[in-house]
């Protein structure tokens, strides 16, 4: 157990260095979510009052779709040169690999949100009526909910025949409670109408339950042959 964090950090540093040099995932994710925002703006008139009501939903759906782009690339990189097989036979704990991948995706998606959220604010002319600081826990917990289960299911879908297609098919049904919590909490905070506490607690519960399950079962998935 004492080797968990050094290996996690080493693997994370490697992933960040790779991403920093190529910027493949980040660029494709940013451009993809920009496209989603623009298409949403054409589909739902941003000047209408009703669009502002559903902005919480639009933001998170855009992030969810963009996160899929990054999540699918997580493990594809390790398939080249049989890196994943090498990892499987090494004595390094499996959870270190999972944590480093999940943290790497967390950083990526957080960066994406930091760039895209202001853009949404501008396009949809949003004002935060409720307590704006409450958006921070919602963002952190919501992003972790997406990337933790997403990284796990990406490791599963990489084993199937239709890799890229499979991930959303597994991830979307299971993340319904998390998505509903994020969307509702964001909507309540933006409109200042009600208390988002229940949704934040539910999101936290989802994070705790799913992260525990991911850590408990990741070795099984990694070694499934």
């Amino acid at each position: 157990m004492n080797s968990l964090w050094p290996i996690t950090l080493a693997s994370l540093a490697k992933d960040i260095r790779l991403e920093w040099r190529s910027k493949d995932a980040l660029n494709s994710m940013l451009f993809f979510s920009l496209l989603v925002v623009v298409i949403f703006s054409f589909s739902f008139d941003p000047t209408a009052e009703e669009s502002r009501e559903i902005a919480g939903g639009l933001v998170w759906v855009a992030f969810l779709f963009s996160a899929i782009v990054a999540l699918n690339q997580t493990w594809a990189r390790e398939l080249r040169n049989q890196v994943l097989d090498a990892y499987r036979v090494s004595p390094a704990p499996a959870n270190a690999l999972f944590l480093s991948k999940a943290l790497g995706n967390f950083i990526l998606v957080t960066l994406l949100e930091a760039v895209m959220a202001p853009l949404f604010m501008v396009f949809y002319n949003l004002r935060v009526v409720g307590a704006a600081w409450e958006l921070i826990p919602v963002c952190v917990l919501g992003t972790w909910a997406l990337v933790a289960s997403g990284t796990f299911f990406a490791a599963m879908s990489i084993r199937t025949r239709m890799r890229e297609v499979m991930l959303p098919l597994i991830l979307f049904p299971l993340s319904i409670p998390a998505i509903q919590s994020m969307v509702e909490a964001t909507r309540i905070i933006l409109s200042g109408d009600g208390n988002p506490r229940f949704w934040i607690v539910l999101l936290l519960t989802y994070d705790v339950v799913f992260t525990t399950a991911c850590l408990a079962l990741f070795e099984t998935v990694l070694q499934a042959e």
Partner: protein, 243 residues
């Protein structure tokens, strides 16, 4: 065991016929809803059967992860397949009843939404099984089944809170039920459970046979290429192995 199957099949058919007769002719007509209420004798037993099968799926999946017994995996697969079918019956009969009674096909009520999400989760489970390679399918599927089970309470709470915020036009349930109706409901449930068990059993035997055949084919082709390689010194035998 093999002799028990036709006996159970005959019993199930008789029971289903009796339950159908009870539901259609013996059961009293509901005062306000009329005859459309009789769909209740199919809707509710299907729901209970589907939920039991999903529970069986979870137990079998956990058993597989602990014991690595391929039989447990076959049980998990079969119960998920049949469970999805029964869940589909629930989702189809519900709106047929709701349209004349509530005036709407669908409402985002707690139980409706939960059933829909459950159906989605198990369809994704079957999709995963369909598209992964056979050797690792059981483990991945068992893991997904556990995640699905963990998800259910969270979905429940999210919809429960959402619904309390947005009251629905009509909420069914509550109130009392005629004892004769309850009696017929339970007969129907028994008949449906027997039917589900029968289908699962048949499907289980089919699945085990399929696996035996696959194993035999793999072994045969292995032996085939092995012998032809030694005899013909690397010459590929065309059409030698089975498809």
């Amino acid at each position: 065991m093999k002799k028990a199957f036709p006996i159970l099949a005959v019993l199930t058919v008789l029971l289903l016929a009796y339950a159908f007769y009870e539901a259609m002719w013996v059961a009293p007509t509901e005062r306000t809803m009329g005859d459309v209420q009789r769909i209740f004798y199919y809707h509710v037993p299907s729901a209970w059967t589907a939920f039991i099968l999903f529970f069986v799926n979870l137990v079998a999946s956990v058993a597989y992860l602990i014991r690595k017994n391929p039989k447990a995996d076959a049980v998990a697969l079969v119960s998920a397949e049949v469970g999805v079918i029964f869940c589909t019956v629930v989702l189809v009969t519900g709106p047929i009843w709701a349209r004349p009674v509530w005036g709407i096909w669908w409402t985002w009520d707690l139980r409706l939404t939960l059933t829909l999400v459950l159906w989605l989760i198990y369809v994704s489970y079957l999709v995963l099984r369909r598209f992964s390679d056979s050797a690792q399918t059981p483990k991945l599927a068992a893991v997904l089944a556990i995640f699905g089970a963990l998800d259910v309470p969270l979905v429940y709470f999210s919809i429960w809170f959402f619904r309390t915020q947005h009251p629905q036009p009509v909420i069914g349930g509550g109130g009392s039920i005629d004892p004769r109706m309850l009696h017929i409901l339970l007969i129907n449930w028994l008949a449906f459970s027997c039917f589900a068990f029968l289908v699962c059993w048949a499907r289980y035997r089919l699945e085990m046979l399929k696996r035996d055949v696959e194993e035999a084919e793999a072994l045969e082709s292995l032996l085939d290429t092995g012998t032809s390689a030694t005899i013909a010194k690397g010459k590929v035998s065309l059409g030698g192995g089975p498809r």
